[in-house]
């Protein structure tokens, strides 16, 4: 019987990225098909479940899979980040109540860091873990740079950032079910669940996506501006 370890060894390192990408693409396309039939189930949840299942079926451990696809997907994440500029540029700020928007953004940046840090302190978690929560609501590239400057553990920071994005994106249809303003729903998703929330907001609607991008970008910059001087 072929074990997981054996199979990982038999994969050609030069073509492993291709198989990994094809497997991920297949899972994503299948998730989209399922999501069309079950729109209440978030696409991100279906896609993750299918990817994990596919890796288990193929006896492909996560580490070598991630190692194989990481160079390509890191690039894709970069392109997705840059692509957010266009919806940001189309937003008409002259139609927005700037003062109230600024108040909301100010609240979000402070609460995004201070609320989880306070809870971590109350739960008697270690100091590096408490610091790692400072960037919970910030998109990964900014979070990792802040983490390096405030000396918080990078692995834990990326875990916290990605998982909180995942939780926000997966449960947003339930939490925001009574929010019928797409701008409000999008902004909330971008502020609370950064890039993964923004990607999920685009599944909801184009307007939600635009406002999620706005929330994510501004929250990232604002958080960097106060977290670094306070904790560095």
């Amino acid at each position: 019987m072929t074990t997981a370890f054996d199979l990982a060894q038999h994969l050609n390192p030069q073509t492993a990225w291709l198989w990994g990408t094809l497997l991920t693409l297949l899972c994503y396309v299948a998730a989209k098909t399922i999501n069309r039939r079950l729109p209440r189930l978030p696409l991100v949840v279906i896609a993750i479940a299918l990817t994990i299942s596919a890796l288990m079926i193929c006896h492909w451990p996560y580490e070598p899979y991630n190692q194989a696809v990481s160079p390509l997907f890191t690039r894709l994440l970069g392109y997705a980040t840059v692509a957010l500029a266009i919806p940001l540029a189309t937003i008409r700020f002259d139609q927005l109540p700037i003062k109230r928007l600024a108040r909301l953004l100010g609240l979000a940046t402070l609460m995004g860091g201070l609320l989880p840090m306070s809870l971590a302190y109350l739960f008697h978690l270690s100091e590096p873990t408490i610091l790692a929560f400072a960037t919970r609501a910030v998109t990964t590239p900014i979070a990792l740079n802040i983490a390096a400057l405030i000396h918080s553990p990078l692995t834990l920071v990326s875990f916290i950032v990605i998982l909180s994005g995942l939780i926000g994106a997966a449960l947003s249809p339930i939490i925001l079910r009574n929010i019928n303003d797409e701008r409000a729903a999008g902004l909330a998703m971008g502020l609370a669940a950064h890039a993964i929330g923004t990607a999920q907001a685009w599944q909801r609607s184009a307007i939600a996506g635009e406002y999620a991008a706005l929330g994510m970008a501004i929250n990232g910059v604002l958080t960097a501006l106060w977290v670094i001087p306070v904790f560095a």
Partner: protein, 141 residues
């Protein structure tokens, strides 16, 4: 004037949504991808020269934002075809997050005692923030 702007925005959004649902503007999609790739790769390279290659994506975001705002300032609006093609890319951007999300999902299955407390804090903070921001944004925007 405000009504005119609102109508213009609504038309633009409707067109974007329609483009996503119906045909694919392959030529514009190629142009947008080319713009994004060139800007991102250039920014990563430039930032790499300063030792901050991982900030390249964000610098790329702000560079493209500056260029798009300048274009909008000069011509009055960003072409709907470009916005629609870009929206299509963003709609499918969830794909790029899949491997990293799958890893986090797997890691969640193997959490220790401190890990469970971290998970509880994250779940509460994320969902409470989402709920609060949603309600405040609905009232304030």
């Amino acid at each position: 004037m405000t009504l005119l702007k609102t109508t213009e925005d609504a038309t633009s959004t409707a067109l974007t949504a329609q483009s996503i649902k119906t045909g694919t503007d392959w030529r514009m999609l190629f142009v947008v991808i080319l713009i994004i790739v060139v800007i991102r790769e250039s920014c990563v390279w430039v930032m790499g020269q300063f030792g901050y290659a991982n900030l390249g994506n964000l610098v790329g975001l702000f560079l493209l934002l500056g260029l798009a705002l300048a274009y909008r300032h000069i011509t009055g609006r960003i072409p709907t075809r470009l916005v629609a093609a870009n929206a299509m890319i963003l709609k499918e951007s969830l794909f790029a997050f899949l491997p990293i999300c799958a890893g986090t999902g797997l890691l969640m299955l193997h959490l220790g005692q401190e890990g469970l407390r971290i998970l509880a804090i994250m779940t509460f903070c994320t969902l409470f923030s989402l709920w609060l921001y949603g309600r405040l944004a609905k009232r304030w925007l």
